[in-house]
């Protein structure tokens, strides 16, 4: 028979699984000798037993209650001097607001009289009693809480809480009891033990309340953990001006500086602070109000911080001059403070550098890398969209990619405003300070590409009507013409007319090689250096241009993990691809390829030069050819309405011929390489020639969309031959982005020198949904219904996609022990995904240049977890 109830003296902070976070910390403080009201914790194991068979460990609870009564010198519900207790939930994982609490258990018609006598405060006692009935009625007996609120409102009749007298509360108790009787057909239970048992069961039951189930589903908290229940002797901060309640931090949560930070409210209970009935005073004032308690509190806080070796937040109550600690936990903090606190604690000798790296997150670093608007700018919001990519951007509105590039080249800051963006807008997005769209969600093209670039983006601002041809957008009556200055806030989704002052990120300046020397930058520097020293994962960047590559190197990338060659086919070169597609003979096709080859060679030469001997992974062309052609619907309408040129008609034929129902699952990647003679060969030759001309270039040729080893064998043979002809060495490997590639990785590894997980496609195919389509159609519904807590395109789905990756890692390495393994999907810059990549033993992650520092930090943390 396991022990199902722990006195606070019996637990400690490492028993969170059993006692929950709150119970474990209460026990820890008790054992530190801090003044915690006595109490005990009923374990989560008891909760699981209750969920199975409805049992409650009544006998053990009884024993512990007796101990508690002995410690307090009072008995639960004693008519003369009643012990009152609170019953509070406390699960292993914090589930804020999800679970239940009942205060003042032990009061009934007789014991309330004892409380009156003992407290010497009739109003307080009756107020406490009505609070019990109200909380108990709502929480335990499942009565609509509004009924109690209405009753008190009627009684107040315009007066405030403070105006209510003892007699008022006494009559309210009668009204509340009547509500209970009417709603439930039974009386409010007067027996204190019954109150306690029902409250405990109610807390257990709250584990399976719909909102808790939904929350757990979203957070992927196992549904069978259960919650612990804490039964704590009540102490009261509302017994007069020598009582009060407060919250405090052991150091400044915004900066990490040591000092006194907190708030205090005299003659009040915790719930009153939350309700904001009066203004709190700064914690410092307590020194004057109650110097003894203040000194004790300072001592306790120092002790707690030394003990937890971190910033703690606490809740305390002073009952008639006696300090009680009601809760402590490691405190939340801002992103900047996290870095500063971690390094300060190192300097103070409380933690070592490993621990400091563990104490900060990649998400926090990412937050610090965005510019932001000044806090008090006072501009009014024109409209709002989705906060798709953080940061703050100011510039002139422009409505085409070409115009954006043109004005940027003249040194102007511009914001690209589009209904939605396409790959054709890339140049404009690169040139712009920020991107604003009226359609599409957080995983739309604009959002994804902007996040990748670290560029501010607000998308799906639906009130905006974009008229790109006329060069303006409107929001209601407001018209914004090309050239008008607007400001967009990627952190809030707000759009402003005119210029809002921007604060640049000192952290980005640091990564760019311009450290400011302020405390935050020094902290980031310290932590990044240590993380780099610890990490096992290499970090590469996804970069298609020499500029991106150079930035990636400055940000700490040790290679390029993905160069998307199709991005080199856009813009001016589109016409060459059209020639290729429209070619009717082998000669015409070869001529089109011959025209492309020198351009590609120059592209690769630029990358090799920028990376100066670091490895550069080049993916051969991946998308279906019709992506390079005009839209089939537009072209069909143009030709049908007689507006098409002769070339339009030829293009329409080609588009129709190449049209696919599901291009994502169509003729692309290695399939294209096998079906279009000479296409891959042209690219391989361009890579080889460029590598030959560059000193020490280390090309790695990557074949996309392989699903069967036979595909890879076919194209690899041709590539090897070309490399041999040119006299260049290069690794040849493959993306693992089709589920079958992962499932047959043992076979594929026989023909591949490296695997790079293309987790964007792998996620699409493993889940069977296309990012282009599903995001707007149903991701909202899915997030609401808790089908997933985060989009699997943002953070790797470990159970599905991750499982395939593990299979491929294990079986690929088994077949080829030296196999190099990396990831080049966008997940390569997502903190949780980086940790997963470390766990399954990849050699590197590759992400957009802007995310490289985040990946470096998370790789370091992963090595230390």
């Amino acid at each position: 028979m396991p022990k199902l109830v722990y006195d606070f003296t019996e637990g400690n902070k490492d028993l969170k699984d059993l006692l929950g976070g709150k119970g474990a910390n209460l026990a820890e403080m008790t054992n530190l000798g801090l003044p915690v009201p006595p109490g005990f914790t009923i374990t989560s194991e008891a909760c699981r037993a209750y969920m199975d068979d409805g049992s409650v460990p009544a006998e053990e609870i009884g024993t512990h209650l007796e101990k508690l009564e002995a410690a307090m010198g009072k008995k639960l519900g004693d008519p003369d001097d009643p012990l009152l207790v609170s019953v509070r939930s406390g699960a292993k994982f914090s589930m804020p607001g999800m679970m239940e609490t009942v205060l003042n258990i032990g009061l009934n018609d007789r014991s309330v009289q004892g409380l009156v006598r003992q407290a010497g405060d009739e109003r307080f006692a009756w107020d406490s009693y009505r609070r019990l009935i109200q909380m108990f009625g709502k929480t335990v007996m499942d009565i609509d809480g509004d009924l109690f609120e209405q009753a008190i409102d009627e009684l107040k009749d315009g007066r405030t809480d403070l105006d209510l007298t003892a007699a008022d509360f006494r009559s309210l108790v009668g009204t509340y009891k009547e509500i209970v009787r009417r709603e439930k057909g039974r009386d409010f239970p007067e027996d204190p033990k019954e109150q306690m048992e029902l409250a405990i069961k109610a807390v257990f039951d709250s584990w399976n309340a719909p909102r808790a189930i939904l929350y757990r589903r979203q957070e992927r908290i196992p549904s069978d953990l259960g919650t612990a229940v804490n039964v704590v002797a009540m102490v009261f901060g509302n017994l007069g001006m020598d009582s009060g309640t407060g919250v405090a931090f052991t150091r400044d949560p915004a900066t990490g500086h040591q000092g006194v930070y907190g708030d205090y409210l005299q003659n009040a209970q915790g719930e009153d602070v939350v309700a904001g009935i009066r203004n709190t005073v700064p914690l410092q004032d307590l020194q004057e109000i109650d110097p003894h308690s203040y000194a004790e509190l300072m001592e306790i806080m120092a002790k707690l911080e030394g003990h937890y070796r971190d910033l703690c937040d606490i809740e305390f109550t002073i009952e008639r001059g006696k300090l009680w600690m009601l809760q402590t936990r490691v405190g939340k903090r801002t992103a900047g403070a996290a870095f500063c606190i971690a390094t300060q604690l190192v300097e103070e000798g409380l933690i070592d550098l490993d621990e400091a790296v563990r104490r900060v997150t990649g998400d926090q670093l990412a937050q610090l890398m965005f510019p932001r608007f000044a806090d008090d700018h006072g501009n009014t919001v024109l409209t709002r969209g989705m906060n798709a990519s953080p940061g703050a951007a100011v510039g002139r509105a422009v409505f085409s990619s070409a115009r954006a590039a043109e004005l940027a080249a003249q040194g102007q800051d511009v914001i690209l405003v589009r209904r939605e963006t396409t790959p054709d807008d890339l140049a404009g997005m690169i040139a712009a300070r920020g991107v604003l769209t009226s359609r599409g969600g957080k995983t739309s093209h604009a959002a994804v590409v902007a996040r990748g670039m670290g560029k501010t983006c607000v998308c799906g601002a639906e009130e905006i009507e974009v008229d790109a041809k006329a060069g303006r957008f409107t929001v209601g009556d407001v018209v914004v013409e090309e050239g008008d200055v607007i400001s967009i806030d990627g952190g809030t989704g707000c759009v402003y007319l005119g210029e809002v002052p921007v604060v640049a990120s000192p952290v980005v300046e640091y990564f760019e090689g311009n450290p400011s020397g302020d405390e935050l930058v020094r902290a980031v520097d310290t932590i990044m250096r240590h993380a780099d020293g610890r990490r096992r994962l290499d970090v590469r960047a996804n970069a298609d241009t020499p500029d991106d590559a150079a930035r990636a190197r400055r940000f700490g990338a040790s290679g390029i993990g993905l160069c998307r060659t199709e991005h080199m086919f856009l813009g001016d070169r589109r016409v060459l691809i059209e020639d290729l597609i429209l070619a009717e003979t082998a000669e015409e096709r070869q001529a089109a390829l011959d025209a492309l080859e020198p351009l590609q060679k120059a592209d690769f030469a630029g990358l090799f030069a920028a990376m100066n001997g670091l490895p550069v992974t080049i993916r051969l062309i991946d998308p279906p050819l019709h992506e390079f052609l005009p839209d089939i619907i537009d072209l069909s309408v143009k030709v049908a309405t007689g507006k098409g040129t002769k070339k339009d008609r030829r293009l329409l034929e080609a588009v129709q011929r190449l049209h696919e129902q599901n291009p994502m699952l169509g003729l692309r990647g290695v399939r294209l390489g096998l079906v279009v003679p000479g296409l891959f060969a042209m690219q391989v030759r361009a890579i080889a020639e460029a590598a030959k001309a560059a000193e020490g270039a280390r090309p790695e040729i990557m074949i996309p969309l392989v699903g069967a080893v036979q595909e890879l064998e076919s194209v690899r043979e041709e590539a090897r031959q070309i490399l041999a002809e040119v006299g260049v060495e290069a690794l040849i490997g493959t993306m693992i982005e089709v589920p079958r590639a992962a499932l047959t990785a043992g076979q594929i590894a026989e023909a591949a020198e490296f695997f790079s997980f293309g987790t964007n496609d792998l996620t699409q195919m493993t889940w069977g949904f296309s990012r282009d389509d599903v995001e707007s159609a149903f991701f909202g519904t899915y997030l609401d219904k808790g089908i997933f807590g985060v989009s699997p395109f943002e953070s790797l789905d470990r159970d599905g996609v991750g499982r395939l990756m593990k299979v491929a890692v294990v079986e690929g390495r088994k077949a080829r022990p030296g196999l190099k393994l990396g990831i080049c999907g966008e997940h390569g810059g997502d903190p949780a995904s980086v940790r997963f990549c470390h766990e399954i033993g990849l050699d590197y992650v590759s992400c957009s240049p802007f995310r490289v520092p985040v990946a470096r930090l998370e790789a370091g943390r992963a090595a230390l977890l």
Copy 2:
């Protein structure tokens, strides 16, 4: 050191892995005491060693050669009385025409004189010598064979082979040697041992010839097996009229009847029979030509059949009155003969019924189920397409689904002719005798659906220009108007003008309950009954209509494994779906659903009645809603050119709103159920109401496209509630068709009472290609390049898709021991896939009604393998 060379006296028929098929059977015959020319087999293990390091077990070969020389009383290449040998390949799996053979090894300028003397036939000896040089030059020395052919043609100068004299052949030997010298810069090797060793190496090398690699890749024969080599003493059927060569079957391969079946050619060698230089005589004639050899042959054939317990085919040679057995193997036969032979062997007591079931295949049964054209109809072919679905169909050409249904309702036979078919053509396809399309391949919609229905289909007949509006098609100058009679042959792809006489399938008549009583039907009946008794797999049918369901029952289905409810939304009801999609308020949407519900209820009632208490699995609506709307391009053009109605404009808005880049990966299946309120509920209620009204109905509700257990939980909760309200019991389960569903099957099984593998979608997502798109774009290339040997949509891809299925079976059953497991993709009717489903332990397969007998038979065979 393993034994690498086996004398024929040392092997047996069970050593095929080591000795190959030919060597193992030669050894078996030797041990049966049959007159096999002495010889030995160099094992496939020796071949593997040779491929590794180029080694040949020369010493062991030498020892066995000496033994062979001793047995024959001659020495290899002896100038006085030379032993000649053939060197023949023989792998474990038959690879017809892939590998090499060299005859007459041992001849050179001196030994040819010995052969002249011994044979007493100068012409024969020199002919044998030139044949050696020709075969050796081409096969071993890699010289272009045409050079030898040209030389002999020049020499003949219009004469026939038989006109050539000894002197001619002697001069040809000189010419051939000259060719060898010129082409290879070396002399033809005169040393007989060198000849033998080079020939052995050439056979080993032929294992890795490109054509053999391609063949193995297609057939998935492991590339490291290697081939065995047989060295056999030459015997000669061309030593005069008392010599000859022949082939024979131990019984009639077309009908299975006992008797004498074969051909004989006097004074000839096997290769002459193949070349057809003279007409053979029936084997019976040998009784007169050489009664002694004939009697011996009859005795041997009886012995072989008794020994192999099956029809054997043999090759034999008579050398001057002495019979030699050169080869035997279990003989090929027609589909009908396979059934007849198997049951006859049972009647003769040679095999039992289990073995009889093993001796026939589902493919053979399927062949027997198609009608065919009479053999000698004499009509001329109008054009050809792909043989997409077998059978023979005759009828009037019609060009629309509606017209097909109309004429069929009048009792006319029609052939539906379309450019390509869509789901809208279903009614017409059902009504038609056959389907002819001018576009699309063997996995196009027309082909797949027609095969599913067991309906004749010729597709991709590219010479045909279909003008559906005008109601005609043309092939060159020939115009076929609506109502003209055409005939199509799904077995050959031929299209004929006019009526070709058709022979119905007696096997289908048998399954329909009208057995003809002929031998074939009795054999099929015997075997099907036994297979049914042995199989562990249940066989269900995919059926959407009461007619299909009734047919499925007649064909032996024990339930419906897949009813596709979306097929109930086509035709007249399309307007109701349009109302649903165009609904702008919750009320309008509910009104549209309310209009659909009674129709759906009637649909389900019909199915329950037809299945009379057998389980009926109903899949809730699966395809994206826009599939029920007009094509976006057509509609865009219509509206842009001012031809659209007001409704067209509303529809266009809806189509644009619902348009998806990749509908296969879009808003469909369970996603639709979660996003469109009331849609699934309407269907579940219709099922429940229909089931309540039908006695003993056993509905099983299937949720499509589930990828996460949370999706299933959400819709299952609602469905359970509706079932409870109506008061009906039903299983609720899910398709496993998204890779993630298989990967998280353990979680999903907690919410599913059954899994049904939707292997069409699962194949699409596991490989990352859409059947609609890839087939015409690159399947041809892939089959040519050997990337797969058969389309993974036709036969289950065991390594990829199959692996996911295994994961789901094991982990699903672990989570829920009673979990019911089935398959409802088209693979459910594919023989190899049925065996796989048996192997991994499914409970049932479900396939189109027409394939039910095939699945029953294969399920029985799988249980016996």
